[in-house]
């Protein structure tokens, strides 16, 4: 299973999580291409530090676009093991790749069952269709 939109789970607030079945227990988190398009002209992003513990639904960072600051939420609980710090200096790259190259944090999952409560690709696409 590769990190592509079809293989991800989503929050309704447009964060995605990729949890490979490789035994590592580490999930990758980012924001969807739809969110990047909605945000429009990203100028700043703040990401957390490695070691921080997150609860599912908790804010893990902020992004600014069009003078609006929006939070980003963690789909799962766990401890942050890696942060894509370099992305904050080239946010424009998210426009072309919000997934494999546009990941934001990696988290050691503390409760894998939380993944079952997230939207799969089809459900997320349905949600986007409802947004029009």
């Amino acid at each position: 299973m590769t990190l592509s939109p079809e293989n991800l789970k989503y929050l309704p607030s447009h964060e995605w999580v990729y949890a490979p079945q490789d035994g590592s227990g580490v999930a990758t988190i980012g924001i969807s291409a739809f969110a990047v398009a909605e945000l429009n002209d990203l100028v700043y992003m703040a990401l957390p530090k490695v070691g921080q513990t997150l609860e599912a639904g908790q804010e893990f960072g902020e992004v600014e676009s069009v003078k609006a600051v929006s939070p980003m939420y963690s789909p799962i609980s766990g401890q942050i093991v890696q942060v894509h710090d370099g992305i904050v200096d080239r946010l424009e790259s998210l426009n072309s790749d919000a997934y494999a190259g546009g990941w934001l944090i990696k988290v050691k999952i503390s409760d894998p069952s939380q993944l079952d409560g997230l939207l799969d690709y089809q459900a997320y696409q349905k949600l986007l269709a409802q947004h029009g």
């Binding site: 607030s13 969110a35 100028v43 700043y44 902020e62 676009s65 600051v69 929006s70």
Partner: protein, 267 residues
């Protein structure tokens, strides 16, 4: 939320930190009717909140992602080193730094459950920016001023250099200009409970940074606006914002207006 109510707070001047803390409390409580019970014991539903206020002393407010260290190196503030001795506060909204002196600040808080003004969960609300700013333009044009939306952008970040430190040196397409002078800019913040829109309306030049003209410097206004107290503009701006929100949501189910002439009143 069925039917939308509006609470308007005409506030008294307060220090910067208190002003920002009040807006944050209103935002985080946007979906909690019990929070509004503190203002009116009979209140039992979320509401769009409009707050008009000014500042008890000249104060800089910095955008969410700005640091005060940027003031040391910013090109646009070099000639006015006195800005460095002013008190400052961090805003939760985006954009550049604002000098709150000879100006009015407004905040609009929209609860996330407001069906008449759906917010989504990320990014800005263009409708709210435009509605408020177009209403202000309409009011200024009625005074005979050359008011319009900027329709231009200095969004140079990542495309050749940083933007100016001060918000009023920047341009976004919905900023309000009189002639070529920006007199109103706004910024937003999203959280789960709703959206906060801040805006700054320049009344006249500040001696702390006289490069920016206010609306009173830019045309012949009716006498009460030319030389009247700030409360005259507070009432005018309140009416323009109220009109903008009505334009977005239709007639409100209920309106509560609070006039707080005394800063000892806690919100």
């Amino acid at each position: 939320m069925s039917g939308v109510s509006i609470v308007v707070i005409a506030d008294s001047p307060r220090p910067g930190l208190e002003n920002m803390e009040i807006d944050q409390r209103l935002l985080l409580g946007a979906n909690d009717p019990s929070f509004l019970k503190g203002l009116d014991a009979a209140w039992n539903q979320p509401a769009i909140i409009v707050r008009l206020y000014y500042w008890s002393e000249p104060t800089l407010s910095l955008g969410n992602f700005q640091s005060i260290q940027e003031l040391e190196t910013a090109q646009d503030t070099k000639r006015f080193s006195g800005l460095k001795r002013l008190p400052w506060v961090q805003r939760k909204t985006g954009g550049g730094a604002i000098l709150h002196d000879q100006e009015l600040t407004y905040s609009v808080i929209v609860p996330s459950g407001c069906e008449s003004l759906p917010l989504g969960s990320k990014g800005h609300s263009e409708r709210l920016y435009r509605a408020v700013h177009e209403s202000v333009v309409e009011g200024l044009v009625a005074f005979g001023l050359d008011a319009k939306l900027s329709e231009s952008c200095t969004c140079s970040f990542g495309k050749g250099g940083p933007e100016p430190f001060l918000c009023f040196h920047r341009r976004t397409p919905v900023d309000v200009l009189v002639g070529q002078s920006k007199i109103l800019g706004s910024a937003q913040r999203r959280v789960k409970s709703g959206l906060l829109q801040h805006g700054s309306f320049l009344i006249s030049k500040s001696s702390e940074y006289p490069d920016f003209e206010g609306v009173g410097d830019l045309g012949n206004l009716p006498a009460r606006y030319q030389s009247g107290p700030v409360e005259v503009w507070q009432g005018w701006l309140e009416a323009r914002i109220f009109r903008a929100i009505q334009h977005l949501i239709g007639p409100p189910e209920r309106v509560l207006r609070l006039n707080l002439p005394d800063a000892s009143v806690r919100i």
